[in-house]
Symmetry: C2
Subunit: 341 residues, 2 copies
Amino acid sequence: MLTDRQRMILNVIIDDYIRSAEPIGSRSISKRSDVSFSPATIRNEMADLEELGFLEQPHTSAGRIPSIKGYRYYVDHLVKLGEVNEQEKQLVRSYFTEKMNQMEQIIQHAAMILSNMTNYTSIVLGPETFTTSLKHFQLVPLSQDTAVAIIVTNTGHVENRTISLPEDMTMEEMQQAVNILNAKLVGVPLVRLKSKLHSEVGQELGRYADQFERLLGILDQTLESEGDHRVFMSGTTNMLTQPEFKDVDKVKTLLDLLEETPTIMQMFNALPSGIQVRIGTENTHEAINTCSLITATYSVEGKSLGTIGILGPTRMDYGKVIGLLDILSKDMAVLLGRWYK
Amino acid sequence: MLTDRQRMILNVIIDDYIRSAEPIGSRSISKRSDVSFSPATIRNEMADLEELGFLEQPHTSAGRIPSIKGYRYYVDHLVKLGEVNEQEKQLVRSYFTEKMNQMEQIIQHAAMILSNMTNYTSIVLGPETFTTSLKHFQLVPLSQDTAVAIIVTNTGHVENRTISLPEDMTMEEMQQAVNILNAKLVGVPLVRLKSKLHSEVGQELGRYADQFERLLGILDQTLESEGDHRVFMSGTTNMLTQPEFKDVDKVKTLLDLLEETPTIMQMFNALPSGIQVRIGTENTHEAINTCSLITATYSVEGKSLGTIGILGPTRMDYGKVIGLLDILSKDMAVLLGRWYK
DNA sequence: CGTTAGCACTCGATAGCGTTGAGTGCTAAT
DNA sequence: ATTAGCACTCAACGCTATCGAGTGCTAACG
């Protein structure tokens, strides 16, 4: 569909534009040592590329900038994966080598590494609920009528809720109910917890109907709110250094979006595995129509655990980011692998 | 030091400026129904007020704006406490009435209420560590050689760390050490935990020297990292709607500051009890030299528990914010009172 | 003597205008 | 097919004039 020369020119324009953030003219391309055509020739090709929809002109008599379609072609066919050099690889790994024995820590760290190395905003989703199961369920009394309910998953994740007992129930009764739950529910995946609760444990706890309802409520609440704890972000303000965000209004809509955890989750959920690139308007959310989102899933033994992603302007260093996401997702998989043995 | 009329004029200027964000001229003051002097008279008074340092002129032939000193005088002598009307009081309370049985929830909610009702940025610090004590310390085994250590405080706060056992230690040995710790340390305030550990429990655990060191490390880590969990913020992007932040660079320095939890903690710590107002350069941090920070401590039985605060531009609705902080800090004290019975 | 009307003055903001220069598209020559 | 040449376009920039909100000062007034 495109000639070799057109591809080459498109490639050069995008590379240059990514660096300079300014429209690229024919002369500056022609001057490059790896280009041996005159500006006029380049101009002709650029005109063709524009007609084909790969380039745009902000206004007549300005250079060209890539269109969404142009970026798309670039990502699909042209981009050279940023050669994360051995030194950088080591750097990434060295971030992890310290005693990182908590999953939350690893994930948060991953987000930090990403944003630091790219200067974009990073978003990391922790492991999906369906791969985690209940390990332990416990009640710690605080006072006469209050207690903390603690849920531990097999991944080492801990959730907790403070509850106050109904007046007509003693701590002992409550504790008994918990014991029964523990006996029945340990090992059950969190997603099946609810149905399991109703079907199997229901009758057994019949006589503790009240407590049962209450505990169920706590479990539900916990499972719902877990979403908050699964999204980690870093470098949100990095966006502000990009020239495309010199307008405060844009910044606000973007930052507001990033604070909406549910929306973020929704964006990240149900992404196909592997590395995905969403360019500009390919994103469903209007607030990031001038951004690109690159995501990679990390998985253990074929099971997708979670997602790491980078949000930046459409004019983004795709090669570098994709390369980085690739090795980082693999490193994370290895690192997290031990939790799932 | 100031005549009644000067006070009145200063008051009017600040009130108007807070609303309009634009320099106030003599004519617009004179036109107000509650002012019966000609512009010329007002001008004379304004010139005097400027000489005294209460007003500033952005440039000749512009109106006057309040100086830091002006705001200070306003806050100390002139401001009418925003009459949080009964309806709003109810609104605040209604936010809380739902089943809020977790302390974190209450605090986070308080931050949200503040930012929603003021359109500024709110910062809330949870209860100080020294008022909380250890309630329970537990180990939940995950696999052969990993476990989750869980610490519960008397406030219902839960902290946890995943740990991996040294190879030469069994889970049973570890568990035993935990039992001893539990017996000795429950009820001890968190701040004294460390010294208590060394002095009293040290010998007892002598034979478990290795484990002891390890557990100590975990406790330390937990106590240190607790800071992160104690700072709650809401409405960080509200700043962006203020005209004084139309400049992206300012926004960035501000947002960067807000992300530094330790700095925030430092700013809030050791504040005198009651309501405090820090105007502009009265703040030590340069990044908020064009902001004002209003804080209120909330306390139970004379003991200060934590701090709630509002960060806004110096041109801030002091009356409203102070009034709101006042009733909210009291409401929180009541609500949190039950944890400290 | 405090207050006020009048007036010259200041200065940021805004609009209009010519200049500049990077970049284009087209044509004709190679 | 490529390229040199040239007329054309248009944002950006700087300059100037104008406008008007607001001031400071002086003199008049009750």
